[in-house]
Amino acid sequence: MKIRRDVFQAIADPTRRAILLLIAAQSMTPNAVAEEFHTSRQAVSKHIQILTECELVKQEQKGREIYYHINANKMKEIDKWIEQFKTILETQFNQLDRVLLTLKKNMK
């Protein structure tokens, strides 16, 4: 499977959002994460894999255990897209201000 984009795909799934919320609170082992869900361990593992590929989740070896923790920088990418969309709207509306002004002048 082609690893298409980024963070958005990762957060499009409710289970993955739940996993992110969990490990945002504290770093967790794969087993600890899996125990929080009713689905199979493999399914949870697959979700974590996607999150890792999207760089939203980082792995860290502590002794014999692997811990997952959240990559806060990557989470900010989502905000960046939203911010750019806001800029586009702002630009459109500023243009509309001028159009309205012209229309009002023409009506007089």
Binding site: R5, W81, F85, L89, T91, Q95, R98, K104
Partner: protein, 166 residues
């Protein structure tokens, strides 16, 4: 141009909904026309230097607006807006989809639902817009459509216009 006009932009990531409130210094009927008549829409819908080009617009329930954002290099990004509900001068709803030049909807990117309400107070009209996405990734497509690089140019253009308007 007044800067004191309201502009709210709120995102609810869990419901993938964006709430926008914006005031305009014009009466309701004029703002309504600016949002619903293709010849006015094309004057402001695309952030400059991109140009909005509406091929057709049938503003009635079930009707569609088929338009492109055209880049300075002439690259066209087509979209289809379907009007799903219209209550003249106070509200209309759109289902917005990306498309190709032959009016085929691009199914790779989910459509978004736009709900636009308008109200007037003392000659100022407030537009309250709700944009609901099936997937926030759709935002990436909007940005990909070409606006990103043009923003600095947009700001320059704005500055120039402000000077000429004074």
């Amino acid at each position: 141009m007044k800067n004191s006009l309201l502009f709210d932009f709120i995102v609810d990531k869990t419901t993938k909904t964006i709430f926008v409130n914006r005031e305009f210094a014009a009466d309701l009927s004029l703002v309504w026309d600016a949002f619903t008549k293709q010849e006015i829409l094309d004057q402001w819908w695309a952030p400059k230097p991109w140009v909005s080009k509406t091929k057709f617009m049938n503003f009635k329930v079930g009707g569609r607006r088929f338009y492109a954002m055209v880049s300075p290099e002439g690259q066209e990004s087509w979209s289809i807006q379907k009007f799903t509900s219209i209550s003249p001068t106070t509200n209309f709803k759109i289902l917005s989809s990306f498309a190709d030049k032959d009016e085929n909807i691009n199914t790779e990117w989910p459509s978004s639902e736009w709900d636009l309400s308008f109200s007037e107070q003392n000659g100022t009209t407030k537009a309250s817009i709700t944009i609901k996405h099936k997937d926030l990734a759709t935002l990436e497509k909007y940005i990909e459509m070409g606006f990103q690089g043009g923003f600095t140019m947009t700001l320059k253009y704005l500055e120039q216009l402000l000077i000429t308007l004074k």
